[in-house]
């Protein structure tokens, strides 16, 4: 049965992707080239980072811990977000959800396996960055292994905490046990190693600084990863009720403001009523604020580091909204594509609504992070300014691979496309701004124009796709 479940999920994902790629050969080619370029780009980025971070790790005591915590915070936010978005048996449809499938089998093959595959891909890219960084640090290249295992452990802990919290809210004892277990894992590491901040990941930081062995660090981080995965499974298997509600659209089309505003308002309602999106944004915001508070307290004199790391996690969480925008709008196409309002106009209104919603949430999240880890206003503005690039890329990625509540693989692929597009836009637009300013264009104007490109790209991609969709 297990092989039947796994092969069904994989087959459906491949068959969904095939027509999308066949209909957009240029996009497919660009995606392939981008995927091929990711590893070399990551190595280049790692070498550049290593040249700065390596000596800093040797010089400053807190740098290695901050690196480990930054990695852990990002991994925990990603783990929480993907675990909460994973559809479980919903992927089997209305009939087979009633089939006699053991909860553990369902978790293993419909949630854990796709996420583990995605984690493996993410770890491969992370290794390309971390190996050169570790090689430049006193511990040497081998210390990248415990760093990666630490990331894996943090991702699994994030998933266990998110799933445990969801279960505990629904009255599941297993959910409460998973939550307590995650706290115990951290506490045991903190007590044994004498560092409350890094908990069981402390040996990875120590190894990076060349003060402890790689094997011991791998044992600590690997054990934490295994226990965290077990806690995640415990919470997920005993989660009462369905993973997601039907999330049906109950919006009433307002007539005030014409069809364009009506489409935007309906899109905003659709997105805000998606339970999986609310959970994803909520979970990453909580992780961001908590992580920022911990870092600000730990780093004492430099709370802005906590703000940057927490704010980045919040930024990633809010990107789930524009990623889902086109897919959610497409869900209602059976009704709206027959209306006299051009589908391209409606889709662009929906995309703009998603952008507005994401920026609103980002402003709120950043304010929360700022309250616990105050930072100069320029840093607040810088993170808010990264929004257009990330959210524009998210709209485009969500158009290429439309969001489906019941498609774990689709969601992961959309997030991967978001990462690749955001990186490409960031590097490309950064280069353009540099060239423009050296040619005499005022920096503010060049930056403003560059920041307008990704949202326009994202909104335009959605409108074009919607126009092609119309019979």
């Amino acid at each position: 049965m297990s092989s039947a479940l796994a092969s069904t999920v994989a087959r459906c994902a491949v068959r969904r992707a095939r027509p999308v790629l066949a209909a957009n050969p240029l996009v497919a080619l660009a995606a392939t080239l981008l995927a091929a370029a990711t590893a070399p780009l990551a190595v280049v980025a790692g070498r550049s980072l290593g040249a700065t971070l390596g000596p800093a790790v040797a010089r400053e005591d807190g740098i290695a811990a901050a690196l480990v915590l930054g990695l852990a915070l990002t991994a925990a936010a990603a783990g929480a977000l993907t675990a909460l978005a994973a559809p479980g048996t919903v992927v089997l449809g209305s009939q087979l959800r009633a089939a006699p499938i053991r909860p553990l089998e369902s978790f293993l093959w419909l949630t854990f396996a796709p996420l583990a595959l995605a984690a493996a891909a993410a770890l491969a890219v992370a290794a390309c960055v971390l190996v050169p960084v570790a090689a430049a640090a006193p511990g040497g290249a081998g210390t990248a292994a415990p760093l990666l295992l630490g990331g894996l452990a943090a991702g699994a802990l994030g998933a266990a905490v998110a799933e445990g919290l969801l279960g505990a809210v629904r009255g599941s004892a297993a959910g409460a046990v998973a939550l307590a277990g995650a706290a115990v894992v951290w506490a045991v590491g903190a007590l044994a190693l004498g560092d409350a901040l890094t908990g069981p990941l402390g040996p990875a930081a120590e190894a990076l600084r060349g003060r402890s062995g790689v094997a011991a660090a791998m044992l600590w981080t690997g054990s934490a990863a295994v226990v965290a995965a077990g806690l995640w499974a415990l919470a997920a298997v005993h989660l009462p009720g369905e993973r997601h509600s039907g999330a049906r659209v109950r919006a009433v089309l307002p007539v005030v403001g014409g069809p364009y505003l009506a489409s935007a308002l309906v899109a905003a309602k659709q997105l805000s009523r998606r339970r999986e999106l609310r959970r994803a944004v909520g979970a990453t915001t909580v992780v961001a604020v908590a992580g920022a508070a911990v870092l600000a307290r730990a780093l004492g004199g430099a709370p802005e580091a906590g703000f940057v790391l927490g704010g980045t996690a919040a930024l990633l969480g809010c990107a789930a909204v524009p990623v889902a925008s086109y897919g959610v709008e497409r869900d209602g196409a059976w009704l709206t594509d027959g209306s006299p309002v051009p589908s391209g106009r409606r889709a662009s209104a929906a995309a703009l609504a998603a952008l507005a919603l994401a920026f609103g949430l980002l402003a709120l999240s950043l304010t929360g992070v700022w309250l616990v880890a105050p930072a100069p206003l320029q840093q607040f503005g810088a993170l808010l300014g990264a929004g257009p690039v990330l959210f524009g890329a998210a709209l485009a990625a969500g158009t290429l691979l439309p969001w489906r509540t019941d498609g774990a693989v689709d969601q992961l692929a959309a997030f991967a496309a978001l990462g690749a597009l955001a990186l490409l836009l960031w590097l490309g637009l950064g280069e353009l701004v540099l060239r423009a300013t050296s040619a005499g264009v005022p920096r503010l104007a060049a930056t403003g124009a560059a920041l307008a490109v990704p949202p326009l790209l994202g909104v335009g991609a959605g409108a074009l796709a919607a126009r092609r969709r119309r019979p």
Binding site: C12, R15, V91, G93, S94, L96, A98, D406
Partner: protein, 257 residues
């Protein structure tokens, strides 16, 4: 799989289910014996689908119990003893009909005779030449026929069909009727929900009339007709549930130029 005729396919007592302040099912008792076909009829929102979803384990009842072939609803044993046809089969659109049936067989631990029964049902529903068609490419009616093929080929102790005749063409309705009779004849219990009162009258040995989550009446179609002094089940329905309000006003407004 549980032996037929050894334990009743379904015995439910005191089922209650609320969604917020709305009570969807309110103290429902239900029994389906081996070889019987029981129909749930009632207006939209009367709790038919919610009741079926509790029985197949997709929803947990707030109160009451449902025992399927000796096992509590929602347990693995109960799920293995139930074949379910939802009102709107969705999901796995990318699988072909044949792949879908193979998956169903695998998930239910390959019941003996599944392949032969599935082949016969496919032929009867006219799906044989669409074995390789993707589920997502089928019309709503054919998609429901594929779902029925999967559920009926399991030949489980309890067959649960929601909105039995919805979207089916007249030929498929005949196939459905014969298939349900055949399943009942081999010992399965059948519980179906339908708005098609003539179908319920023709197929069901027992009918439960629901309104606002409560059971207004239960009996064979003949007993219900006699009790309510009506010539048809539709007459029973209108007597028990009430006639549509303000029909005259509706026709006046709609008909006004």
């Amino acid at each position: 799989m549980t032996h037929l005729n050894s334990i009743e396919p379904l015995a439910a007592a005191g089922l209650r289910k609320s969604f917020g302040p709305a009570r969807a099912v309110d103290g429902l008792d239900l029994e389906v014996r081996s070889g019987s076909i029981v129909g749930l009829v009632g207006p939209n929102g009367s709790g038919k689908s919610t009741t079926l979803r509790i029985i197949v384990g997709l929803l947990a009842a707030d109160e009451g119990s449902a025992i399927i072939a000796g096992a509590p609803a929602g347990s693995l044993a109960a799920r293995a003893a139930t074949g379910y046809v939802p009102d709107e089969p969705t999901g796995l659109d990318e699988l072909s009909v044949a792949e879908f049936l193979r998956l169903v067989s695998a998930l239910y631990r390959e019941p003996p005779g599944f392949t032969a029964r599935a082949a016969a049902l496919l032929a009867a529903f006219g799906l044989e030449r669409r074995r390789d068609a993707r589920l997502g490419s089928l019309s709503h009616g054919l998609r429901r026929a594929a779902a029925m093929t999967a559920a009926f080929a399991l030949a489980p102790p309890l067959v649960v069909v929601d909105e039995a005749t919805a979207a089916l063409d007249p030929e498929a309705v005949v196939v459905l009727r014969e298939a349900l009779h055949a399943l009942a004849a081999r010992g399965s219990g059948v519980l179906l929900a339908t708005q098609d009162l003539s179908f319920a009258e023709a197929v069901c040995g027992g009918v439960s009339l629901l309104s606002r989550g409560r059971q207004l009446a239960h009996g064979s179609p003949a007993e219900l007709r006699a009790r309510f002094g009506a010539a048809t089940l539709e007459g029973v329905f209108l007597e028990a549930v009430g006639r549509p309000a303000r029909l005259e006003e509706l026709t006046d407004v709609l008909g006004a130029r």
